[in-house]
């Protein structure tokens, strides 16, 4: 097929449609990407970004539509074909093997005999060309999240892709590391004429790093423009499908000008409420690796304390401790002034701790059990007699909680698997709050939720705190932290590197603390 425009597109998608059952993930999506530009693909969770990229990589087959690469129609039956066309992707979740070294990970998937010296030389070449310093012999599980991201990028660039796709690449990076990455991408498009597709739900980085932007909403292209010709407000509106004015909205979108806010002022630093959660010198070692290193935390009744930091600095381990899954090597956890043994089954929830865990599919809910059962699982005693569960009480309890927390499910018998992410998260929250906790731990409570559900979660967390429950918000999103918390502690490398009321927090100061520098 002869291209009609004077310029041959690096990649052109026309009318791409893909349905899963009754759900149309992509609905007649058009997208044109040029060489020498960074094209932003913006959209909420579930807008169809991932499906579209899976189609491009040959992981999923489109129902209809055409794809041309450099003006030629392509079939894209499998990932090998995508690779041979020069389409490469850096996935959101690392696909690295921790026990192997950097060069081994990079060589993974190569065919034929592996030439160690050649691979190492290539890595050095790529890392010098793009300014991505890395030691080819380092073991990957010893690297920081930012360094791992570098390995992923090198792995992809070494195969010399003409079209490079990055899926939410900054979710594990600090501000400085993100800027570094965007500089590398800029070099790849400007000096070498590659095409880059940057997928993100963060407006700020789309505005800063891209040349053109396409907004997907509910599987359709909602908006397309040169980045320079549009505003962040406009993009936010297109992404959500309505005007964005609420503060919580803005925070959810990463739009909020990060500055001191008025509602933080009522929490003066020297008169904090009585502690409901106190963690002292908490140290956890797993397999000889120190995951938490003398961590101190304090949450008062009715306040929201944020534990802010980049992913992979011990937050997951802390969550496991609060879930009773890992025993601390040393240090203490006190709830309401009483010392608690976290690994004793039921001890944490008996002491008054509720937790919205980070991996809700693994430990927050049992996907194949019903809504009613999931709502009852931590307080079986209240819905049953000595031996048997009373279905009547369990359903009455479930209906009451569903109404109170606005859980939308076709019935209380519906398996939680069939609920939307926001509703699943509300099931967890409803269950944890029904136990009348003194302290609620919310670990990345808005991960993977769409804007509406995020807003709802913010409102609920504020309400919980207003009712006198202490809330510990473990989060990697700066905007979220600034919007919700009255007190911020920063975690880096398993330690709290700094702690301050939100009124004293500035992005610069937090950034340094996140990087591990005490201020």
């Amino acid at each position: 097929m002869v291209p009609t425009t004077e310029q041959v597109h690096a990649l052109q998608l026309r009318g791409i449609t893909k349905s899963y059952g009754s759900v149309t993930a992509c609905d007649a999506v058009d997208l044109a990407v040029e060489y020498g530009e960074i094209h932003g693909l913006l959209g909420e969770n579930g807008a169809g970004k991932s499906t579209l990229m899976k189609v491009l990589l040959g992981l999923v087959h489109r129902d209809s539509g055409t794809i041309t690469v450099r003006g030629e129609d392509v079939h894209l039956a499998d990932p090998q074909e995508a690779a041979s066309l020069g389409i490469g992707m850096v996935h959101q979740h690392f696909s690295l093997i921790g026990e192997l070294s950097v060069w081994e990970n990079v060589a993974l998937g190569d065919k034929g005999r592996i030439d160690k010296a050649a691979v190492r030389a290539e890595i050095k070449d790529v890392s010098a060309r793009y300014g991505l310093p890395i030691d080819p012999d380092a073991r990957v599980d010893r690297l920081s999240a930012g360094e791992r991201q570098r390995v992923e990028v090198i792995k992809c660039l070494r195969r010399d892709p003409k079209i490079l796709i990055l899926d939410e690449p900054t979710s594990v990076l600090t501000q400085a590391e993100s800027e570094e990455l965007f500089a590398v991408l800029r070099r790849a498009v400007r000096d070498e004429g590659r095409a880059v597709i940057l997928i993100s739900h963060k407006l700020a980085e789309i505005s800063a790093a891209t040349d053109k932007v396409t907004v997907l909403r509910r599987g359709q292209v909602a908006f397309h423009a040169r980045t320079a010709d549009t505003t962040a407000q406009e993009l936010a509106k297109q992404m959500v499908g309505r005007d964005v004015s609420l503060r919580a909205d803005a925070a959810a979108l990463g739009l909020l000008p990060v500055e001191n806010t008025s509602d933080a002022d009522d929490a003066a630093p020297d008169e904090r409420p009585a502690a409901v959660l106190e963690v002292r010198a908490l140290t956890v070692e797993v397999g000889g690796v120190r995951r938490l290193d003398g961590l101190d935390l304090r949450v008062g009744a009715g306040e929201i304390v944020a534990l802010y930091g980049v992913e992979g600095n011990g937050q997951a381990t802390l969550g496991d401790v609060f879930s009773g899954l890992i025993a601390p090597t040393s240090g203490t956890v006190q709830i309401g002034g009483q010392r608690v043994e976290p690994t004793k089954p039921g001890a944490l929830s008996d002491a008054g701790l509720g937790i919205v865990p980070e991996d809700r599919h693994q430990s927050g809910v049992v996907l194949d059990m019903s809504v009613a059962e999931n709502l009852a699982m931590k307080s079986l005693g209240t819905v049953s007699g000595r031996m048997f569960v009373s279905r009547r009480t369990m359903y009455a309890n479930a209906r009451r909680l569903a109404a109170e927390f606005n859980i939308v499910a076709s019935s209380m018998d519906t398996p939680v698997r069939r609920l939307s992410g926001g509703n699943q998260q509300r099931v967890v929250l409803a269950r944890e709050l029904s136990g009348k906790p003194k302290i609620l731990i919310a670990a990345q409570p808005t991960h993977g939720l769409d804007v509406g559900a995020i807003e709802d979660m913010y409102t609920r967390l504020r309400k919980v705190a207003a009712e006198g429950v202490g809330v510990l918000l473990i989060s990697t999103e700066l905007e979220e932290v600034m919007a919700l918390a009255s007190w911020i502690s920063v975690i880096s490398d398993g330690r709290v590197t700094g702690s301050m009321p939100v009124a004293e927090a500035t992005p610069e100061r937090l950034g340094m603390l996140v990087g591990g520098e005490a201020v």
């Binding site: 349905s19 039956a77 699982m377 931590k378 031996m387 209906r399 559900a453």
Partner: protein, 407 residues
């Protein structure tokens, strides 16, 4: 934020869910929803029928190839199992231990622990029962009770060893329960070959004794109601049915069953909710061993064999019971008819082999039927999932130029 905007958001979050349907107290509608067979349900039924017919065809071909007559064989199976009261008596006698093993397997599988050592637990149960029955000088029906209790404890202990190995040495449970089966065979063999332990008293002047125990005294055997040729029901069947019903109720209705199901579906979430996962899964494994051990006790104490302990006494009841649970997909209620079907095959198979058809053919037929019943749900699940994740590749000609996005 007002309630109305919140509802709106929730709706956008889950467009498929109908808010009006949230009132779910309506029992009638819920029952109907349960009864409604989905498309994949019909597919499963259809495929099962097709596969059973194929299995029947293959079996007929096999019987023909060994010189037998398929119709004659079918008739022999029928005569031996269902044609008259005597046939039914034999069938039900075979059903009881199978059902016990299957019910126990349902408990372990619900808890997410995969016990596949039932055959050995049956043997150990029979051994413990024989030991008590032959060594204790207790009179009256109390002895039969003691035999069964000992059998259940023996099975529980044998499975419990695997639970301990997992707890303290992280030994994989399917592997250890399986290997313990081979150990059980050797142990029983040794016991019935050692005159000082359980071997039968030497008979006559030659002083020869086979590798079996003495028969269980009459007081240690399970009572049977009814007289040949009318229907005979052994106490073992009552025990099996009652325990299966109890299992079904406990698994679906009790707090204990709730925790067990939660643990089986997501051990992490169960731990989160305060369940003592290590303890509970060990208990579930031991209980499933107790059920298998009890089945061994029933084999020993009911008129299905010679009431003597020998290494062949389990006669694959453990494996077949495991298959019953597999076909019933770990639902005790469904296990009842499936166990009955297996009982029919066993009783009919015995009769068939007495007409000259080799017994291994009966086993082959049984295996083919099991495959026909087990495969369809798994196959259809896999196909549907595959179809959901990979659409049909579009083989469309280059589409006429569509209006392009501003580029």
């Amino acid at each position: 934020m007002t309630t109305s905007t919140m509802t709106e958001q929730a709706d956008t979050a889950a467009p498929d869910d109908d808010v009006a349907e949230r009132l779910d107290g309506d029992w009638g509608r819920r029952a109907l929803a349960r009864l409604r067979v989905s498309r994949s349900g019909w597919l499963t039924v259809g495929l099962t029928v097709v596969l059973v017919v194929i299995a029947g065809g293959l079996s007929a071909a096999l019987i023909l190839s060994t010189g037998g007559s398929p119709s004659g064989s079918l008739h022999a199976v029928w005569t031996g199992s269902m044609a008259n009261a005597a046939g039914w008596s034999t069938t039900l006698l075979n059903t009881a231990p199978l059902l016990l093993v299957a019910a126990g397997t349902c408990i372990a599988a619900t808890a997410g622990t995969f016990n596949i050592g039932q055959e050995g637990q049956v043997l150990i149960g029979a051994m413990a029962g024989a030991f008590v029955g032959l060594r204790l000088s207790v009179q009256g029906p109390l002895l039969a009770v003691l035999v069964l209790v000992a059998a259940a404890l023996g099975g529980a202990l044998w499975a419990g060893l695997s639970a301990l190995m997992y707890r303290y040495r992280n030994v994989n449970i399917p592997v250890s329960t399986l290997l313990m089966t081979f150990l059980a065979v050797e142990l029983v063999d040794w016991m019935v070959s050692s005159p000082s332990i359980l071997q039968e008293t030497a008979q006559g002047s030659s002083g020869l004794a086979s590798s079996v125990s003495n028969p269980l005294p009459a007081a240690g055997r399970l009572a049977t109601t009814g007289q040949y040729p009318s229907l005979q029901l052994n106490a073992g069947l009552y025990i099996a049915v009652i325990l299966t019903a109890l299992t079904a109720i406990m698994l679906t209705r009790s707090r204990w069953g709730f925790r067990l199901r939660m643990m089986g579906l997501s051990p992490l979430a169960a731990k989160h909710a305060g369940v003592r996962v290590a303890l509970l899964s060990g208990v579930a494994l031991a209980i499933s061993g107790a059920f298998a051990g009890l089945a061994g006790g029933v084999l020993l104490a009911s008129p299905i064999g010679s009431n003597r302990l020998q290494s062949g006494i389990s006669d694959n009841v453990g494996w077949d019971g495991l298959l019953v649970a597999l076909v019933a997909r770990n639902r005790p209620g469904v296990a009842v008819p499936v166990a009955l079907l297996f009982g029919v095959l066993r009783a009919g198979g015995d009769f068939l082999s007495s007409t000259g058809v080799p017994y291994f053919l009966v086993d082959v037929v049984k295996s083919l039927l099991v495959l026909a019943f087990v495969a369809p749900p798994i196959l259809i699940d896999a196909v549907l999932r595959r179809r959901a994740s990979r659409g049909v590749v579009a083989h469309l000609p280059a589409a006429p130029a569509t209006p392009e996005v501003a580029a």
